[in-house]
Symmetry: C2
Amino acid sequence: MTKPEIIQNLINAYAEAYQNLGYSSLMGKIVALLIASPEPMSLDEISGELQMSKGPVSQIARKLKEHRLIEKVWIPGERKDYYRAVEDIFGQAFANYASSMRRNQRLGEEFEQLSKAVPAQDEQTRHLATRMNEMKLFYEMMDESNRAFLQNWRDNVKPGLEELQDEPAGKQS
Amino acid sequence: MTKPEIIQNLINAYAEAYQNLGYSSLMGKIVALLIASPEPMSLDEISGELQMSKGPVSQIARKLKEHRLIEKVWIPGERKDYYRAVEDIFGQAFANYASSMRRNQRLGEEFEQLSKAVPAQDEQTRHLATRMNEMKLFYEMMDESNRAFLQNWRDNVKPGLEELQDEPAGKQS
DNA sequence: AACAATATTTGAAAATTTTCAAACGAATAA
DNA sequence: TTATTCGTTTGAAAATTTTCAAATATTGTT
């Protein structure tokens, strides 16, 4: 398999994966492209490579930047914006997911309280309170597990990987 | 807040949460309804409660059953199908997610190999191999963490919760 | 300040997903 | 066997999301 074919396959695989996770497939394509690129890429290069007009690419790039999966880099003497994948993109994607899961914890809390506050307690309100308590507990424990995993990755594993390769250059915007 | 209002809010919250996770919002509504119901519900009851025709409800219920989030129960003397949320629905939802994450691990493996197999090794192929190796390692470790968490939940925590309440009745189909 | 290059926004078109109503099929009861 | 009661499938309508092309805004250069 040739290099361009591999990259195209990676782009397709990420597009599908992001789609399955409920994001737009364009998000996955941009992420794949930037993961695969040793150098930062401009908006024009990205939309050119993906055969897509600049409008959607600009919008999705902003979202990815908000989610801290990609970042702008300043290239001296250049007027264009350049993007690259952030240093710990897998860890950051995980952190985003973990954060969205904390909403479930809060939902459990909220609805446990609400169902206990109903004046006329019956079988259903008690049942709901029990379930919601279980939900709260589950996502609490899950969050603890998630935090421990991410900290271990960032403190112990990722730094070891980084030693083996060059650090990226360029100042951020 | 009255009981019907609480349940409606729960349905809306789950609809939004499922939507954000990339599933149909109807999926979330059905799950919420069955989590809130102490008794199994028939297709008609579900679609009636959600004010939705039976077609989509039937299709989505099948998907939820495939994902082992809900199950059919047999009610003696009744012709209708009855559904309820499975015993450990939060754990099962997590298991489904963990399983989908294992695909990322395989992607990392696959593309690391592919990029190493390119005859003309250059900066980009080496860069890609490094990134894909990192990806593989990250999702490997994540999977270990996920398995440990789920096992702890199922072996140590969930059984303790179950002792406090009645076990469900009815045989499965 | 005026111009040139680039990025973002916008409204409409295209594509996709969701939903419904009705037809169909399967299973049970009479 | 026939009728009845559900569940599922299907094709089209409705709603939503994605994408584009063009207009607008922003930034840097002269």
